[in-house]
Amino acid sequence: MANDAEIHDRLSRVEEIIEQFDADECDLDEGTALHEEGKELLTEVREILDEESGEVVEIE
């Protein structure tokens, strides 16, 4: 399966978190938790893109 959805969903959530900060919709504790969540999501995106080397399979 292509990774598009996994990557797209995570990046969208990070954008949502940024919007929440800009709109000042939460208190300091919630904001800290959201920031951690955003960092974690970006790490996951890097991990998805950094899996093992792909293989080449020949089919006669």
């Binding site: 399966m1 292509a2 990774n3 598009d4 990557i7 990046l11 990070v14 954008e15 978190i17 940024i18 900060f21 800009d22 000042d24 208190d27 300091l28 904001g31 800290t32 959201l34 920031h35 955003g38 960092k39 970006l42 995106v45 890097r46 998805i48 893109l49 950094d50 899996e51 093992e52 080397s53 792909g54 293989e55 080449v56 399979v57 020949e58 089919i59 006669e60």
Partner: protein, 348 residues
């Protein structure tokens, strides 16, 4: 008289084992071509393909669908001919055969060109093109966008051709984590349409193939005819997986290109198109988003820390009336004291 052939045979036999330079062998082939009367002034009927011209020479390939011959006409001679050639024109050429010694290549060099009409092959392609067009196979609404981050890409091409390496290198240049499944196919000749179509069906049914590239490293128009067949067009159209063509040509679009979800000019271009560059994506998308997240959080934190500091000050203030009331009270008391002292001294 009987001695002559024997002498020739003996001369030929004495040459067996002789090592010739490439030039010597080419000279020998050229003299055979020039001296063979059956190859002089031949008339040959076929269809013009791969027509191209520079300032001095017109080049094309003459084909009957099964075999082909390269042809060249000097531009000044062509201008004098009463013939307007284009791809698909059926012609009878009256021609000499030229062997280019340095390049080791045979060309037909026509001195007369008789135009017969549109070739069968060209007419067949036009007929075939009209059918899928009417069925809507070329419509943009039918196109699927290949995923930008595939895990596995299928490739239908010859295992022995350069195209497969061009595609593999381009894909892994963009993203080394992608798996590539290469399905061998015959990409020219009469077997090619079935072989290519079967390759597409096979990969379309394979689990986890996110996109299919169908390609070969170019070739003459007649070599690409498999990509102008209904069989290949139908296989591309009916595939559930997005199909990208990479047939390595720049001239008229092939039917396969028109049906495909994406048509690219070369195998390398297909490999590069089909997926995002991982480092580029990280640099252009992920890193800026992370900076944005950090900046937004910092601003948010500063705003909330100011609020927090005010709240702390407020909490630290003593309970009771605000200090101004105490100051006013002291002033009032002092004034009262002055008034009472004034009365007591009889000043007031």
């Amino acid at each position: 008289m009987a001695d002559a052939p024997d002498a020739e045979r003996q001369a030929a036999e004495s040459d067996v084992g002789e090592v010739l330079s490439v030039s010597q062998l080419n000279d020998r082939i050229a003299s055979v071509v020039q001296d063979t009367s059956a190859l002089n002034g031949v008339r040959c009927i076929g269809e013009v393909t791969d027509l191209h011209q520079n300032s001095t020479t017109l080049y094309f390939t003459l084909t009957n669908g099964e075999a082909e011959l390269p042809c060249m006409i000097w531009a000044n001679r062509y201008r004098e001919m009463d013939a307007d050639l284009e791809d698909g024109t059926e012609v009878i050429l009256e021609s000499d055969i030229d062997y280019w010694v340095e390049g080791g290549k045979i060309d037909l060099m026509p001195w007369e060109v008789i135009v017969v009409g549109d070739g069968d092959q060209a007419a067949a392609v036009e007929r075939l093109r009209s059918e899928p067009k009417e069925r809507g196979w070329f419509d943009d609404e039918q196109k699927q966008q290949p995923p930008a981050f595939p895990e596995r890409v299928g490739v239908v091409t010859s295992l022995r051709g350069d195209a497969r390496y061009d595609i593999q290198n381009a894909i892994h240049g963009q993203d080394p984590t992608v798996d590539i499944l290469v399905k061998d196919a015959t990409v020219q000749g009469s077997e090619a349409p079935t072989s290519i179509a079967n390759g597409i069906h096979y990969l379309d049914r394979s689990e986890d193939v996110d996109a299919i590239i169908v390609g070969r490293g170019g070739g003459s128009d007649s070599n690409l005819q498999a990509f102008n067949t209904e069989r290949v067009a139908e296989a591309i159209f009916t595939a559930n997986t997005p199909v990208v063509t990479a047939i390595g040509h720049t001239d008229d679009r092939l039917i396969a290109d028109q049906v495909a979800d994406v048509a690219t000019i070369t195998p390398t271009a297909a490999g590069e198109y089909i997926l995002n560059s991982r480092p580029e994506f990280l640099a252009s998308e992920t890193e800026p988003l992370e900076q944005q997240l950090d900046a937004a959080y910092e601003t948010f934190q500063q705003d909330h820390e100011q609020e927090l500091a005010e709240a702390v000050d407020e909490a630290a203030a003593p309970e009771g009336l605000p200090p101004i009331y105490y100051k006013i009270a002291i002033v009032v008391l002092l004034l009262l004291l002055l008034v009472i002292t004034g009365f007591w001294l009889g000043v007031i």
